[in-house]
């Protein structure tokens, strides 16, 4: 038990949607805080809602826990409570050790002052002593990669540079627990890599990390445990990949994402009647194991003759990045013309995509792809299940040999 650095027990927090009421409740809360009565915490007042409700979890030394969920699910509220900025309305949070937050990078930066001066201010805000900064100053500046600008006023920096300097300072703290809120998405690629390296360095030192991100790839890579918040409550908690899969599947059921799928017909020459996702036994399925066979049958009716039809299937991952797009003509399905009810079959022998949710677009065109007759954009989806044995979008299953 002594290895637990963060212990969150049945924590709830309420918020108020109306500003006017919120301010007035603020005045009342100050009163009850001052007079030591705490009745105002238990029940919702008019206009209030639970931003976090009955949340419990633990983080052990060296663990990285990812908080995922839609905007407004209560991730940031939870993080702010962990950070001690706001008090829970119910429950209890116990923190062991020195806590640092990688949340507001470059907090306390004054644009008029030079980068050098701001490093000291920022460090002081984060609770790092001057002696400590004196010792690490060169290291920090080198890490930020902006040595030549360090004596220029921060207002002359690009936003990326200021954030880099902020991250460099923050990354040189020596906490037991680190809270990270979506900060690694800043800076250019080289800096993002630097940040990731630094983060894994911190993890290896046995620091516990709580990270909030919408980048599912980052969460999967970084954390060994995930908490999925939905409307302020824990929807699922457990091993990262399982929770992330659940979240991603839920995402595509969510109306917002479904809305991006649309069926467009440019004329009434052809109509897609049915699209079936089949497994290796030709049974319909939604879920494929990594490495298994995927078959898509497109049943359509060509009401008029289509000359040189081109079929395309494009597959996107849950972040809507194109994974692959194939044209039937490029894959040597050359047809002079067709008419009537037909089925086109698309087969991938071994689907080696990373586990997750995928969206599928289908088009039928005449003569060339740009001459589209019907376009079902990201209307279909399927899931790839299993354990990833590599990073990245797909696994090409390379062969490794030692030659000498």
């Amino acid at each position: 038990m002594s290895d637990t650095l963060i212990k969150v027990e049945n924590v709830s927090k309420k918020f108020c949607r109306s500003l006017k009421k919120s301010l007035w409740y603020g005045v009342k809360d100050m009163g009850s805080e001052f007079f030591g009565s705490s009745n105002s915490h238990n029940e919702l007042r008019d206009g209030e809602f639970w931003a976090n409700k009955d949340i419990s979890f633990e983080v052990k030394r060296g663990e990285t826990i990812g908080l995922i969920g839609h905007n407004g699910a209560g991730k940031t509220t939870l993080l702010r409570m962990l950070n001690g900025l706001i008090k829970p309305d119910k429950g209890r949070i116990e923190i062991r050790g020195r806590m640092q937050a990688l949340i507001a990078l470059g907090a306390g930066f004054n644009p008029i002052l030079s980068g050098r001066e701001n490093v000291y201010v920022n460090a002081a805000v984060l609770g790092i002593s001057k002696a400590e900064i004196d010792r690490k100053f060169d290291e920090i500046v080198a890490f930020s990669g902006i040595e030549e600008f360090i004596d220029a006023p921060v207002q002359s920096y690009s936003s990326g540079m200021a954030v880099r300097l902020g991250f460099a300072v923050a990354a040189h703290m020596e906490p037991d627990i680190l809270l990270v809120d979506e900060v690694l998405a800043v800076g250019d690629l080289a800096f993002a890599i630097k940040c990731n390296v630094k983060m894994s360095e911190l993890r290896n030192q046995g620091i516990s990390i709580v990270v909030v991100s919408h980048n599912m790839q980052a969460i999967r890579n970084m954390s060994n445990k995930a908490v999925w918040l939905e409307k302020g409550m824990i929807q699922e908690i457990g091993v990262t990949n399982v929770v992330c899969d659940g979240y991603e599947i839920n995402n595509y059921k969510n109306n917002n994402i479904k809305a991006t799928g649309s069926k467009l017909s440019y004329n009434d020459k052809v109509e897609i009647l049915n699209v079936l996702f089949l497994n290796e036994y030709c049974k319909t399925t939604e879920i494929y194991n990594v490495g298994s066979k995927l078959i898509i049958d497109i049943e359509f009716i060509a009401k008029h003759k289509i000359i040189k039809p081109v079929f395309t299937i494009s597959i996107f991952n849950s972040e809507l990045i194109l994974v692959c797009s194939n044209y039937s003509t490029f894959d040597n399905l050359i047809i002079d013309d067709l008419e009537g009810r037909k089925i086109i079959r698309y087969t991938i022998d071994s689907i080696n995509f990373k586990p997750g949710v995928y969206f599928c677009s289908i088009t039928i065109s005449e003569i060339e792809v740009s001459n589209t007759l019907v376009w079902h954009e990201k209307v279909y989806n399927f899931k790839v299940a299993g354990n990833s044995t590599n990073y990245g979008m797909f696994n090409p299953h390379p062969k490794w040999d030692i030659l000498f």
Partner: protein
Amino acid sequence: MSTDNNELPITVYSPESQMRSPGKLITSMFHDLKESRELAWRLFVRDTSARYRQSVLGILWAFLPPLLSGLVFIVLQSRNVLNLGKTDIPYPLFVLIGTILWQVFTESVNAPLKAVQSAKAMLAKINFPREALIVSAFYDVLFSLAIKSIVLAAVLIYFKVAVSVGMLLAIPAILMLILLGMTIGLLLTPIGMLYTDVSSALTVFIQFWFFITPVVYPPPTSFPFDLIVKLNPVSPLLVGVRDLLTLGILKTPEAFLLVSALTFFGMFFAWLLYRLALPIIIERMSS
């Protein structure tokens, strides 16, 4: 990791009011005050150097306003446009010290709310000892006082005021004046962070307050105007400092000591309130 977890400090966040465990609360207040020294100094250095780097007239702004308003009253009095009563010391000396001290006081009143308001973004995201903002604001007022005291010294020399032991006593007395101002400011800060009405009202009220404080006129002695002195907590301090500087004595030591005692008590109360209120305020600010 070889660190023994049992050595790690434990922090607990729970809904209970901190007032339920006053011992712990007071210990943590003084602990945080101690912890905040370095940050307070950094913030002060940051704000001060940034301010003067972007200003041509620089420190002139610390004493120009009281000097100008003092001059107005000197002219009005000498031309007999206004008759503000007879003073023990030359009127220009009287009024210049008065307006400078008044400026010190109003800066002290405004400092806490201004400091906390401009640190809003930081407060909403980072957990640092909140006392640092107030201590840094105090340094700020002291710095501005240091500049003003050069002018004050020049005025005293020009009017050939005799050097006295009382002048030394004026230093803690000015600090009391600052403390009183900051106490009032800090008391208003929690509500002022929620409602902007507070800072607007403060601006208006301070202008009004100037006229009910014996800054440009000697303390009235006849009823009902003597109430200005008796009920206005600034009067004994401001008049006291002026008397110490020019006459070397305190005319009403009882009132001075009473207000000082109340100020210490009030300061602690305001500090407590500020600490308890901040999480509630932060909750109601955007993150």
